[in-house]
Amino acid sequence: MEDTAKSDVRIGVFICDCGSNIAGYLSMKDLVEYAKTLPNVVFVQENLYTCSEGGINGIKAAIPAHGLTRVVVASCTPRTHEPLFQNACEEAGLNPYLFEMANIRDQCSWVHQQVKEKATERAKGQIAMAVAKAARLRELSRIQLGIFYRAVVIGGGVSGMAAAMALGNMGYEVHLVEKEERLGGLLNHLNMVLPAKEPPSRLLDDLRTRLENNPKVTVHTRAQVKKSEGYVGNYQVTINENGNETVVKAGVIIVATGAKVLKPEGLMGYDGEKVITQLELESLLKQGTPSLKNVVMIQCVGSRCAERTYCSRICCMTSVKNAILIREADPSASVTILYRDMQMYGVENEDMFRRSKELGVRYVTYDPERPPEAGDGLVRVYHARMGKEIALPADLVVLATPLVAQDEAQQISTMLKVPLNENGFFLEGHVKLKPLDFATDGVYLCGSARFPSSIREAVSQGLGAASRAAIVLSKEALFTSGIVADINPNTCCGCLGCLEVCPYGAINFFQDRGICQVNKVLCKGCGGCAATCSSGSARLDGFSNDQIYAQIEQALAG
């Protein structure tokens, strides 16, 4: 391999004591003397704390004074301190990517406290490796990008409405795209919501009016997003509204496409008349309370089973709510809920659960191995507490079926290059820490498109996604990182290996030329593509083969 280390490279090495964290366990004098002997090293300094003001000023002064063209700091972890040292280089006129770090604290002094001599030898090796790499570093640059200060929200249910409202209120232009004739999503079909005890139209009408009166918000109904091109800050989104296509230039996209209720064809004798879903019961109740003598509700129909392992979160509260409404309207009606676990989490739900018991709603657990059977005006179920089968009279059986992914989820996932989970719900960037972001910058998610949500949660997540999106919209410009991948178009064979491993949707395949290309804006510099590429066409700047091989050779030589 060609050696890219140039003879005119002048490296400065700064070795940190970290108080006694490093100096207490390694021989600093030996490290300093050793560093001086390394090729291209023209200056070595030991600091009590390289990260302190004095240490930083030392770097800034040494660069011009000794004509340094590379800087190596041997100290702690780049996770916390690399940006600080890179800034110091930049302020002294050195490209920040001509900087390298050796972690001789976390990876050496802390873990080898008992063996000072061996640990010092090891730290020498780490410094030599960093120096070997530094000699081969190249200047890299960050690209500045403009931003379209506009958002597209896909889905006009309560979550999407809340997101659009928040962005509009912050002063950003918003395009809200709803496939149905009117905004509101699943809530349009509900009868009543508890504990507020109001029709959902109250919330929806309020939101609709405010959205319509907000000059920043454009609502597209009977509309769909047909195409989306671009990347964070610079999307071109094609919206088809009633057959007319318009292209919206937007900086961010929020996915709020919701979910749909599973129709339990073939399950528990579902017929849409005597055996119906909770959603169908809502319509029934909306038309006025039907006269019912015995209602039996069955939970987890089509969920928490082999086919759909997940618990759909909102079905227990829906059943309890409807049971309360039936008992309140007609105290002589009997309601029994057959369940596995009553998922009445939190304060409001448990309150509602208790209230239902006060109103005389009966609860019976069932074992999924011995599920209830409906037929002939009866529901038969094995009563585990009594140890025998019981038969409950039922003039209406209501099945609690889960929310499942929308049909268009797959199309949107492909279009925006954002992933779905095994159940077809959109997959967030991090389960705990990034619940409303995708791994891909500039695209966000909320509401039941992510996972079944209550109204409270959908509103909250809509606002939250707006908040995440506003982080991009409130910037003056975007900068890419210098550490990004590149693919050599002359050698790429279009095998798509890189595209398959990229978690950020940063690789595009050009069918006409049969090659892959990296979108440097979306690339996070993970190097997955470079490691995968079988033709050696993909490389990661800042971690190129010659740099890494030089480090390995140094490690093996030492």
């Binding site: 409270r456 949660e457 809509g462």
Partner: protein, 398 residues
């Protein structure tokens, strides 16, 4: 916060900042001060399972990464000779003269994110918490399982941790009692020492664990509500315990296993299949202790339709999420309404808004929440606050 006034778009707040006696701009958190500090104090962050020093940081990743002197224990503040930390600190950050300060803030919006307090399980005497060393809270379990915790992640029984500490101090106490010629006290201490020597190391690692759900939650005597996240943290703790020690057996005593989040039900199934967790549907009536300090639980197994008992190495309580003790004062100062449980009152349609325009809330301050929902709500509250800040409070829709 000590003073608060104004209205949406123009609030004024006075914030009391306690002195930390360490100059935050100089401290590099190297830890040399704490290493040499001679004063040991029970470590609150680890629930007293080990000691910290009088100059300390709660844990390695704490933010800001700055040490603090605890004036209630520091020898300098107790009028004794010391000053070791100031001598050790090469950054010159120690400042015994530092004073409390007050900061005046003018803000357009306020977010209340004061979190929660763990339910005090000593209020349920039948579970023996506080009396039996091997009955612990969920957060104590977190510390025991943590690589950065008092046992470096080894699931040592608290009776062992505490017994070993006691064994270390006993010889001194015995010598002192003998010197003072207190023969009764000395013989009692000797007896204790003998017992500890014989018993402490009999069951060093907790391998048979019982998790009791709904401790203080869904209980008419305390909190009627469900605390939302405890089913999942018990399952998680049991799975991690098993990862540490493959012989671990865990029993989770529950009423309903509420696995309502994304991937939660799958996680519960994995717990049973891969980590051998056993889910027992039934409420625990009482916990007693045998002579080896093993907790014995008495419970109704509703699926087997019988009352049973089980001897365990350790019992972990799923303590309820209680409203934080300080919230009443905060709410009075801000003028915001609380609900009957002392959580900040909100409406389902406006989940982040308190009763005062311009003051928002998120996380467990408004009711028990798990991590993903808390993180999502934090962003939501920020959005509401941003609407106010960016429009001067004109926009107040959902």
């Amino acid at each position: 916060m000590v003073e608060f006034s104004g209205e949406i778009g123009s609030f004024k707040a006075k914030v009391h900042r306690k002195a930390r006696y360490v100059d935050a701009s100089k401290c590099t958190a190297c830890g040399a001060c704490a290493e040499k500090c001679p004063t040991k104090v029970p470590n609150e962050f680890n629930f007293g399972l080990n000691d910290r020093k009088a100059i300390y940081k709660d844990y390695a990743q704490g933010i800001p990464s700055v040490y603090t002197i605890d004036p209630n224990h520091c020898r300098v503040f107790q009028g004794k000779k010391c000053g070791v930390c100031a001598k050790q600190c090469q950054a010159g950050a120690i400042d015994y003269e530092q004073k409390d300060s007050y900061v005046d803030l003018e803000v357009a919006a306020v977010i209340v994110a004061t979190g929660y307090d763990l339910f005090d399980a000593t209020r349920i005497p039948e579970y023996g918490y506080g009396r039996f060393p091997n009955v612990i809270s969920s957060l104590e379990m977190e510390r025991l399982l943590s690589a950065g915790g008092p046992t470096a992640g080894h699931l040592a029984r608290p009776s062992v941790v505490k017994g070993e500490a006691r064994l270390k101090e006993l010889p001194k106490l015995i010598a002192k009692a003998e010197k003072d010629e207190k023969t009764d006290a000395a013989s009692a201490l000797n007896k204790e020492r003998k017992w500890l020597e014989e018993h402490v190391h009999k069951y060093p690692t907790a391998k048979k664990l019982g998790f009791i759900q709904c401790v203080g939650s869904r209980d008419f005597r305390f909190h009627k509500y469900c605390s939302n996240y405890c089913c999942m943290h018990s399952i998680k703790e049991a799975i991690i315990a098993r990862d540490h020690e493959p012989e671990t057996e865990s029993y989770i005593f529950y009423m309903d296993l509420r696995t309502v989040g994304k991937g939660f039900e799958e996680y519960k199934i994995r717990g049973a299949k891969v980590s051998g967790l056993k889910y027992v549907r039934g409420r625990v009536a009482e916990v007693l202790q045998d002579e080896e300090l093993n907790p014995v639980v008495y419970f109704e197994d509703t699926e087997q339709r019988c009352v049973r008992s089980m001897t365990l190495d350790m019992v972990i309580l799923a303590n309820a999420c209680s409203a934080s003790k300080g919230i009443v004062t905060v709410a009075e100062l801000l003028g915001i309404a609380l609900d009957e449980n002392n959580f900040v009152k909100t409406h389902p349609n406006k989940p982040l808004d308190t009763s005062v325009p311009g003051i928002f809330t998120c996380g467990c301050a408004q009711g028990p929440l798990d991590i993903p929902e808390s993180v999502a709500q934090a962003s939501s509250a920020a959005a509401r606050a941003a609407e106010v800040v960016m429009t001067g409070g004109r926009a107040l829709a959902v």
